[in-house]
């Protein structure tokens, strides 16, 4: 193998009808190299990757000054040649392994099909090779797993199976499109390690991600995309420490974590520190030995904590740790099988229906998926109207109040007559927050409120929540799997694992001197900008990753 690029594209343009999704993108990936494309949703990063394997889809017009795949001119490729390239020359790993694997076939058969189609190994050796591949990607008990269906595997194992299928024919280039986005941090760390091993073995890697920290760990070079064009390109270390484009700087500044505590994440209004947090007041929510079983399995086991007025308590854990169940118990939406959830000193069980409604008014929620939390028939005006009614606002004043609420969350009255479906993800979450504010709550339970958002929108929403807390003095119970976000917002943190509290403490103590092994493990798994890649661990990028004063707004 020589040092020529495996894939080379110059001045790539992809358009769908009149819409140009990608404009003038050039990139090259050589053997053993990892190139990353970073951008937010709609930036054209996935379309770019797909055009390298001829999978842009119907209705797309692809143009390029040069498109070479494996030394051949791919501009003239027909469907037949593309099929040959996919699988043998280039492996493609998609984000969501559950939808990318055939639900009606054991994963072993899926991998075997790739081998059979491309005649990679003699027919008799296929089964053996499948097991070998699964073992290579770190699937434990590969003989057992090969016979299982995708839904029987965990997210991490599914992603590994998908990678096994992509590398089945030993491709020279592996394209991974958001390979870890749906995964927990510890699993993410394992997958990234696996990809890194492939790269060291000589495979070229094209990594697509919205997460700069994930990229920092693996990539040699980074391309930052925005609105279909590459705004910045360079060696990973340089792009992360000395970004030249304002958009890259804004992206870096928007990443929440230790360095960003007490500062603003979005660049829209400078970074004024919100008022100093008030001293925590009386206990508003208390969990006392909460227990919840689902079908004989203990989902929540003896969970206790206190939330005091005006503070933010982070509830952090991986998927399946029971954090959302705890939130629902606290909200009185689920009955506990043991222990108690107290709101302002009273348990849900001892309250009458009327008192329960009154208590609910004081404890409002913001969900991860705002869209499903709105009645699909309601427009924004009706959503807020109902919430204001709960807050006891007379009908005649509700319209003005609704406008005030929208103003408070940074929206204008123009959205009143629109349905949530017609709003962007960030706008929807703002409407959800406005609805939660309407009854003037004392506590806001935020259940993964920013997990579905792009990093710049996430930054704006986190800033908004910080402003509202400073202004209204609400207490937040902040549920998240994202350690950086929890680090950024919390005063105190509760770490959950398999339904149990592993550790509770001040945010500083948890993140700098964790006592529990599991917390150590979690923290070690976070991809961080200051550890760009394990072998080159000398470059410490933290200072530059701190928010810089920028005046440019992120669109």
């Amino acid at each position: 193998m020589n040092g020529d690029p495996l894939v080379e594209v110059e001045d790539l343009t992809v358009s769908f009808g009149a819409i140009e999704a990608v404009r003038g993108v050039s990139l090259a990936v050589s053997p053993g190299e990892c190139v990353a494309i970073v951008g937010e949703s709609g930036s054209g990063k996935s379309v770019t990757a797909r055009s390298l394997i001829g999978l842009t889809g119907e209705g797309a017009t692809v143009g390029a000054a040069r498109l070479r795949v494996g030394g051949q001119d791919a501009l003239a490729f027909g469907e037949r040649q593309w099929r040959q390239v996919r699988g043998t020359g280039i492996g493609y790993v998609l984000q969501d392994a559950l939808v990318s694997l055939d639900p009606l076939r054991p994963v072993g058969r899926e991998i075997a099909e790739t081998l059979r189609l491309h005649r990679a190994v003699p027919r008799a050796e296929i089964d053996g090779r499948v097991i070998e591949l699964l073992r290579e990607v770190g699937v434990p008990e590969p003989e057992l797993r090969a016979g299982q269906y995708p839904h029987e595997l965990s997210g991490g194992l599914r992603q590994r199976a998908l990678i096994a299928s992509a590398i089945a024919c030993d491709p020279e280039l592996l394209i991974a499109d958001e390979p870890t986005t749906a995964l927990d941090v510890t699993v993410q760390a394992q997958i990234l390690r696996l990809l890194d091993e492939r790269r060291r073995a000589g495979t070229a890697l094209l990594l697509i991600s919205h997460d700069l920290a994930v990229v920092a760990r693996l990539a040699d070079r980074v391309l930052v995309m925005k609105d279909g064009t590459v705004v910045e390109e360079g060696p990973t270390g340089r792009v992360l420490t000395a970004p030249s484009h304002p958009y890259t700087r804004a992206l870096l500044a928007a990443i929440p974590g230790e360095h960003s505590r007490g500062t603003r994440l979005s660049a829209t209004s400078g970074h004024v520190r919100p008022e100093p947090r008030r001293a925590p007041g009386e206990v508003v929510i208390e969990a006392r030995g909460l227990v919840k079983d689902f079908r004989g399995r203990r989902a929540v086991d003896e969970v206790s904590f206190e939330l005091r007025a005006g503070e933010t308590l982070g509830l952090v854990g991986e998927s399946g740790s029971g954090k959302t169940t705890v939130a629902r118990l606290v909200l009185g939406l689920l009955e506990s099988d043991g222990g108690q959830a107290l709101v302002e000193g009273r348990t849900w069980g001892e309250m009458t229906a009327r008192q329960r409604r009154e208590a609910r008014r004081h404890v409002q929620v913001v969900y991860q998926d705002p869209l499903s939390s709105f009645d699909p028939r309601f427009n924004v005006r009706r959503i807020l109207d109902e919430a204001l009614m709960v807050g006891g606002v007379p009908r005649a004043e509700r319209r003005d109040q609704a406008l005030l609420l929208l103003d408070q969350v940074g929206l204008d009255g123009g959205v009143l007559e629109r349905r949530p479906r017609q709003l962007s993800g960030g706008q929807r979450q703002r409407v959800a927050i406005a609805r939660a504010l309407a009854p003037r709550p004392r506590v806001l339970v935020c259940d993964e409120p920013v997990s579905a958002l792009d990093v710049s929108v996430q930054a704006q929403v986190l800033d908004l929540l910080a402003d509202l807390q400073a202004e209204l003095g609400m207490a937040y119970l902040f549920v998240s799997h994202h350690l950086g976000v929890v680090h950024h917002v919390s005063d105190r943190v509760v770490v959950l694992k398999e339904g149990r509290v592993v550790e509770t403490g001040d945010v500083g103590q948890i993140f700098t001197a964790p006592r529990a092994d599991y917390t150590h493990e979690l923290l070690a798994a976070i991809p961080r900008l200051d550890r760009p890649s394990e072998q080159a661990g000398t470059a410490h990028l933290v200072p530059a990753a701190r928010p810089r004063p920028t005046t440019e707004a992120i669109q």
Partner: protein, 281 residues
Amino acid sequence: MTAVTLRAATRERPGVRPGVWAAGIALSLIVLAAVAPGLLTDGAPHESDALMALQPPGEGHPFGTDAIGRDVFTRIVYGARQSLLAGVGATVLAVGAGTLLGLLAALGGRVADEIIMRLTDVTLSLPTLLLALLVLTITGPGTLNSIYAIALYTMPSYARLVRVQTMVIRRSGHVEAATSLGLTRSRIVLRHILPNAFAPLLVLATIEVGTALVAASSLSFLGLGARPPAPEWGAMLAGGRDYFSVAWWVAVFPGAAVTLTVLSITVVGRALQRRLEGRDR
């Protein structure tokens, strides 16, 4: 990525198909006949002329005349009201009662659910017409009674649909959000569960109007619904049966009226369904 979604969103909506147009026009005419029959015909439905008995379709009598010389066309026009009323009436009654029972079954606890669901099982296990005959034997024949009978045996399917819809919707995110907002239970049911459970029912009901209409005509045909000399399509069909070999038009045109009505209701209903589902996607 955005480009792809945008493209899908701006893709032209398929226009209304010609078949749907034709059905819509036919249905409008039938409704017009039911509301204002005088606009479509000059004659009177009970006006008989023994000398003009069993005249074939021709000048003055586009659909011919029946055994006692009444104009078949005029009687069909006047019969539209009876038939539509029976179809729509039975459906409205069935939807109303079915919705109530379905909600009760889904929200009223296990005992209510068991009782209501076993009752619907019993009703659904009986042959439909047999059940209607049973009811009419007890209550006696008549237009109103046949509407009750039809409503009774179409109701269980609505009750089941509403029950299932309600059970799904009460667990959905927006109902949980409404609960945690602190809304009263009655408001959650009336404002958030019922309207959302009702939407798919509306489409089903539109299509079912046709089925109910056929059922009402069948009962009249058997002499259990509208009685002669009322101009009702089923009853007219029954009256024409005896003369079928000599005067086909007496039976065929009322039959065709039933077919056309059911067909256009179904086509319009399905088009409505496609529209609604398309919007929901």
